[in-house]
C-alpha cells in the first residue's frame, strides 16, 4: 500500500531489494574492496598525503609486486582444496641465490641466467607436485619439507654470505620502468595512454558482460549504479596512472603483475583447466567421476607455483640488488594471508585472482602506511595478524548468516 502513494520511492524500494540480493552474493569481494579503500583513505590522512604521492605509489608497487605474484600462484593451490604451499619463500630465496651464482660466479649472460632460473623453479614445482599429486603426501607436509630443503640449499649455495651487486639488466625487472614513447619533461605519456587504454578495455568488458547477462535475463545492477561504478573505476585507474606519469612512468613490476592477473583471471574463469581446478576443489570425487584428471590438476598447480615462486625470487633479489641467505623468509605466509583475506575458502573451490590481489594490496598498504606513520615493524606484524583474523572471521560469520536465512 505504501508504495502506491509514491511510485518513485516504491520503485527504489524494489530496486533496493534486488541490489541487496545481488550484492549479497559477492559480499566478500565488495567488502574487501571497500576495506582497501578505507585503509587507503585512512592512511592518506594519517600520513598527511604522503601515501598517495607519485613516488610512494611507485614504491608500493615495487614493495608488493613479489607478494602479489606469489598470491596468484598460491590461490590456485588453495582452490584445490585448501592446500597451501609453505615452500614458496624458500624457493624464491633459493632461485634468487642460484641466479646470482649463475651471473656473478659463472659469468652467464643475464637473460640466460634468468631463463634457467625460471626453469629450475618449474622443476622444483614438479618435485612438489610429484609428491603431492602422485605419491599422495599431504601438501602441507610436502611443502613444509620443501621449505626446509630449499632454505638449506640456499645457505649451501651462498655459503652463508650475500652475493652483490647484481647487474642493472637483472634489476630491471624489479626496479626498472618501461621506456616512454615521447620525451615530455615532467610527465610520462605512456603511463597516461596506458590508463586511457585500460579504461576503454574496462568499459568494453563491462558493457559486454552486462549485455550478455541481460540477454539471458539474469539480474543486473540498475543502470544508474552501473554508470556510477564505471565512472568511479575509470577515475581510479586514471588517477593511478596519472600519479605514475608524474613520477617515472610505469614500473616493470606493474606490467608483470598486471599481465599475470589478466592471464590467470582468464585461465581460471574462462578455460577448461581453470574450470577443472574449481571443480576439483569443490568436490574431488565428483570431479574425478566427471572425467577430470585430478592428479594432473594437482600436479600442474604446484608446477605453476614453482614457476611463480621463481619469478618472485628474481624480482625480490633484483629489488634488493643482492642475493642473501635469508631473503624470502616468511613470504609464504604473506601470500597465504593475501588469498584468505581476499575471500578464498579454506576448504577449496572458492576464491578469485582479483580477490587475492586485493588481499595482497590491503596488507601492502597497511605495511607501507604504518611504516610512514612510524609504527614499528613488530607492531605491523601484530596488526597484520589481526587483519587476517578479522577478514576470515567476517567471512565465516557472513556465510553462516546467509545459510541460516
Amino acid at each position: 500500500m505504501k508504495y502506491e502513494k509514491s511510485g518513485l520511492i516504491g520503485g527504489l524500494g524494489i530496486q533496493g531489494d534486488r541490489v541487496a540480493t545481488l550484492l549479497r552474493g559477492n559480499l566478500r569481494q565488495y567488502v574487501m574492496i571497500i576495506a582497501l579503500a578505507v585503509v587507503i583513505i585512512l592512511f592518506q590522512i594519517l600520513t598527511n598525503g604522503i601515501l598517495l604521492r607519485p613516488l610512494n605509489i611507485s614504491n608500493l608497487i615495487a614493495q608488493n609486486g613479489y607478494i602479489l605474484i606469489l598470491a596468484t600462484g598460491m590461490l590456485l593451490c588453495i582452490l584445490t582444496g585448501g592446500n597451501i604451499d609453505l615452500s614458496v619463500g624458500s624457493v624464491a630465496g633459493f632461485i634468487g641465490a642460484i641466479s646470482a651464482v649463475f651471473i656473478l660466479n659463472m659469468d652467464m649472460p643475464v637473460y640466460v641466467a634468468i631463463l634457467i632460473s625460471l626453469l629450475i623453479g618449474v622443476l622444483i614445482g614438479c618435485w612438489h607436485g610429484f609428491w603431492i599429486a602422485y605419491v599422495g603426501v599431504p601438501a602441507f607436509i610436502a611443502t613444509l619439507a620443501g621449505m626446509l630443503l630449499f632454505r638449506g640449499l640456499t645457505l649451501v649455495i651462498l655459503q652463508g654470505t650475500s652475493l652483490a651487486p647484481l647487474p642493472a639488466e637483472y634489476n630491471f625487472l624489479a626496479a626498472g620502468f618501461v621506456t616512454d614513447i615521447a620525451n615530455i619533461p615532467g610527465i610520462n605519456l605512456l603511463a597516461i595512454l596506458f590508463g586511457l587504454l585500460a579504461s576503454v578495455l574496462f568499459v568494453w568488458g563491462e558493457l559486454n558482460a552486462r549485455a550478455s547477462k541481460r540477454k539471458y535475463k539474469f539480474d543486473v545492477i540498475p543502470k544508474g549504479m552501473f554508470i556510477a561504478k564505471i565512472l568511479f573505476i575509470i577515475l581510479v585507474i586514471n588517477a593511478f596512472t596519472y600519479a605514475l606519469a608524474l613520477h617515472r612512468g610505469i614500473p616493470m613490476v606493474l606490467v608483470i603483475v598486471t599481465a599475470l592477473v589478466l592471464i590467470y583471471t582468464f585461465v581460471t574463469t574462462k578455460t577448461i583447466p581453470g574450470r577443472h581446478i574449481y571443480a576439483y576443489g569443490g568436490n574431488p570425487k565428483a570431479a574425478k567421476l566427471s572425467g577430470v584428471k585430478t592428479k594432473k590438476v594437482l600436479f600442474w598447480v604446484y608446477v605453476n607455483m614453482g614457476f611463480l615462486a621463481a619469478l618472485a625470487g628474481i624480482i625480490f633479489t633484483g629489488r634488493l640488488n643482492s642475493a642473501t641467505p635469508k631473503s624470502g623468509t616468511g613470504f609464504e605466509l604473506d601470500a597465504i594471508a593475501a588469498c584468505f583475506i581476499g575471500g578464498a575458502s579454506t576448504t577449496g573451490g572458492v576464491g578469485t585472482i582479483v580477490g587475492a590481489i586485493v588481499g595482497g594490496l590491503l596488507m601492502g598498504v597497511l605495511n607501507n602506511g604504518m611504516s610512514i606513520v612510524g609504527v614499528s615493524i613488530d607492531w605491523q606484524q601484530a596488526i597484520k595478524g589481526f587483519v587476517l583474523l578479522a577478514a576470515v572471521a567476517f567471512d565465516v560469520y557472513s556465510n553462516s548468516k546467509s545459510k541460516s536465512i
Binding site: T21, S212, K215, Y216, F218, K270, T271, I272, P273, R275, H276, Y278, A279, G282, N283, K285, A286, A287, K288, L289, S290, G291, V292, K293, G349, V350, I405
Partner: protein, 514 residues
C-alpha cells in the same frame, strides 16, 4: 485435557521467495508411529527442523505444544531437553570412535571431578545394545559396522538421552531389506515401551505397514491425515495425495526397439581397493544391446557398484582382468576420461558426495563431464554454457530459482536431474546408472524413469543398478542377478518376479556354504 503428546499449530515458515510451510497443523498421539510423507520439497524436513529447534523460535509463525505446554526452542539442546531427538538421513556419528563413545557423545557419563566414568558408560552401553538387539562389541569402531547397525547406534544414542519423541528422516533409505525390517520392528517395540516415533519415508510399503497415522504434506500444506484401521489406507491413495494427481503406472511404458549387441564384458575380475587380495567382482560376463535396459539386481555389497565403477575407466579397484568390448571392439580404459571419450557414462549412487559439485551452480555442473563440447581451444563459451543449462533445466524440469542456483540447495530429485543432465549432455552410448532413484520421491521417480525410457528409445544402452526390486522389474528388459561378486542368474522381463530374483540370490548363497 489434552490427548496429544505433540501439537504443531498453524506453523508457517518462509524462506526468501518461498513459502515452505503454509499454516500447517500437525498432531501426534502418544505411543504412536506417525508417518510423514510427501514429495521432496513438500516441507517435511522443514517441519521437523522447526520441531527439533534447528530453526529457532521466532523464525517461524505458529506454536509447538508438547504435553499441553507451549515450547519455544532456541536450539536443538532445548528440544532435546523436552525429549525430542531427530535422526537425520546423514548420520551424525564419529566413524573413528567406538560404539560406546558415540552413544554417549555430548551426553557423557560423568563421575567424580568431572571425569568421564568409563565403567558406567560401558555398562549402560551394553545394556542398551542388548535392548535394541544390536549384537556388536561396544568397543568396535563405528566405521567398521554396516549402515544398518550405524542407524541402530543413532537410535541408541537418542534413547540414552531419554527420548520421548523420536524423529527419523528416511531411516531405511540406505538399508537393505533385512536391516530395514529389523529397524521397523524396533520402532514397534519402542512404541510398546512408550516412545513415540515420527518417521519421514518415501518407502510407502514400509509406511503402510508400521504407521498408526499417516500425514501427507504437499507444497507446504497438510493434505490429509489417515488413521490406521479407521481409514482405508492404500499406497495409491497416498501417492495421489502426495503428487496431487493419480499416477496410473508407476513405471512409464516405452516402445521396444532393441538392436545389436553393444556392450560385452567377459570374465571381468576386480580386486578391492582396500585389500588387493580380495576379489570383489568374480568372472562376470554380461552383454547389453542397443536400446536395452538391463537390470543389475542384488543385495547391497554384492559387488554391483564396484563392477559398474570398474567398467567406468577403472574408477574402482586395484587389479583387473577380463575384456570389455563396445560394438565388438575391445576397449582399454585407464581413466574416467577415457571412458567418457569412448561413450560410457556412470551416474553414481552417491549424488551428494560424488555426483555433483554442491558449492557450484546448475549451469556449471551440467557441462563438467564434456567441457570440450562447449569450448574452442580450451576456452569455454560461457554463453553457450548458459544456453545449455537453460535448455536442460527446462527439458528435464529441474525445479530451481534459476540455473545460477547452487546444486547443494536443490532437493534430491532435482539434484539427480542435474546429474542426468550432465550425462545426457555428454551424449554417451552406454549409461551405467547406479541407484538413480535412491531417496527420491514418487513424482520425481516417475520423471527419472521417463528420462531413462527416452534414452533407451534413442538407442542408448542402459545398465540399471537398483536395490528396489519393483523398480528393476518395472523398468528392465533383462535382469542379471548378482551376489557375492558373481552373476548368479539371468532373467528375461517375462520370467522375472520378486520371488525368482530372491530365489537366485538365496540359492547362490547356499552353494557358497556347500
Amino acid at each position: 485435557m489434552n490427548q496429544y503428546i505433540l501439537e504443531m499449530r498453524n506453523i508457517t515458515k518462509k524462506f526468501p521467495g518461498v513459502l515452505a510451510l503454509n499454516n500447517v497443523s500437525f498432531e501426534v498421539l502418544p505411543q504412536n508411529i506417525h508417518a510423514l510423507v510427501g514429495e521432496n520439497g513438500a516441507g517435511k524436513s522443514t517441519l521437523m527442523n522447526i520441531l527439533s529447534g534447528v530453526y529457532p523460535y521466532g523464525t517461524y509463525e505458529g506454536d509447538i505444544v508438547i504435553n499441553g505446554e507451549v515450547c519455544k526452542f532456541r536450539d536443538i539442546k532445548e528440544s532435546e531437553a523436552k525429549g525430542i531427538a531427530i535422526i537425520h538421513q546423514e548420520l551424525a556419528l564419529i566413524p573413528t570412535l567406538s560404539i560406546a563413545e558415540n552413544v554417549f557423545l555430548g551426553n557423557e557419563q560423568i563421575g567424580k571431578f568431572g571425569v568421564i566414568d568409563w565403567h558406567k558408560t560401558r555398562m549402560r552401553s551394553i545394556e542398551m545394545l542388548h535392548k535394541v538387539g544390536l549384537r556388536e562389541n561396544i568397543d568396535t569402531r563405528v566405521s567398521e559396522i554396516g549402515m544398518g547397525k550405524q542407524q541402530l547406534v543413532e537410535i541408541i544414542k537418542a534413547l540414552a538421552k531419554d527420548v520421548k519423541i523420536l524423529i527419523l528422516d528416511e531411516p531405511t533409505a540406505a538399508l537393505n531389506d533385512e536391516d530395514s525390517k529389523h529397524l521397523l520392528d524396533l520402532l514397534i517395540d519402542l512404541k510398546e515401551h512408550g516412545i513415540t516415533s515420527i518417521i519421514i519415508s518415501h518407502k510407502l510399503n514400509e509406511v503402510t505397514k508400521v504407521a498408526d497415522v499417516i500425514t501427507i504434506l504437499r507444497d507446504g500444506a497438510v493434505i490429509e491425515s489417515m488413521i490406521k484401521e479407521k481409514d482405508d489406507i492404500t499406497e495409491d491413495r497416498i501417492i495421489k495425495g502426495m503428487v496431487g494427481r493419480e499416477i496410473k503406472d508407476r513405471f512409464p511404458k516405452r516402445s521396444h526397439k532393441i538392436g545389436e549387441v553393444r556392450l560385452e564384458v567377459e570374465n571381468w575380475n576386480v580386486y578391492s581397493t582396500k585389500d588387493i587380495t580380495k576379489r570383489v567382482v568374480k568372472d562376470v560376463s554380461i552383454y547389453a544391446k542397443r536400446g536395452e535396459v538391463v537390470g543389475l539386481s542384488g543385495l547391497m555389497g554384492s559387488g554391483r557398484t564396484e563392477f559398474a565403477m570398474s567398467l567406468f575407466g577403472k574408477s574402482y579397484g586395484s587389479k583387473f582382468s577380463g575384456t570389455l568390448k563396445k560394438d565388438g571392439q575391445e576397449l582399454v580404459l585407464n581413466h574416467e576420461s577415457d571412458a567418457i571419450k569412448n561413450g560410457i557414462a556412470y551416474a553414481t549412487e552417491d549424488r551428494k558426495s560424488a555426483g555433483l559439485i554442491l558449492i557450484d551452480d546448475i549451469r556449471r555442473n551440467i557441462p563438467l563431464a564434456s567441457l570440450d563440447k562447449i569450448s574452442k581451444r580450451s576456452v569455454i563459451n560461457e554463453n553457450l554454457e548458459i544456453k545449455i543449462g537453460e535448455e536442460y533445466r527446462q527439458k528435464l524440469r529441474i525445479r530451481s530459482s534459476s540455473i545460477l542456483q547452487k546444486t547443494g540447495q536443490l532437493s534430491g530429485g532435482n539434484q539427480q536431474k542435474v546429474v542426468f543432465s550432465k550425462w545426457i549432455f555428454a551424449d554417451p552410448d552406454i549409461l551405467l546408472l547406479d541407484e538413480p532413484t535412491r531417496g527420491i520421491d514418487v513424482g520425481a521417480k516417475y520423471e527419472i524413469y521417463s528420462i531413462i525410457n527416452q534414452l533407451a528409445e534413442k538407442g542408448k544402452t542402459i545398465l540399471l543398478i537398483s536395490s528396489e526390486l519393483p523398480e528393476i522389474l518395472g523398468m528392465c528388459d533383462r535382469i542379471y542377478v548378482m551376489n557375492e561378486g558373481r552373476i548368479v542368474g539371468e532373467l528375461s522381463a517375462a520370467e522375472a518376479d520378486q520371488e525368482a530374483v530372491m530365489q537366485l540370490i538365496m540359492n547362490s548363497a547356499k552353494e557358497v556354504l556347500v
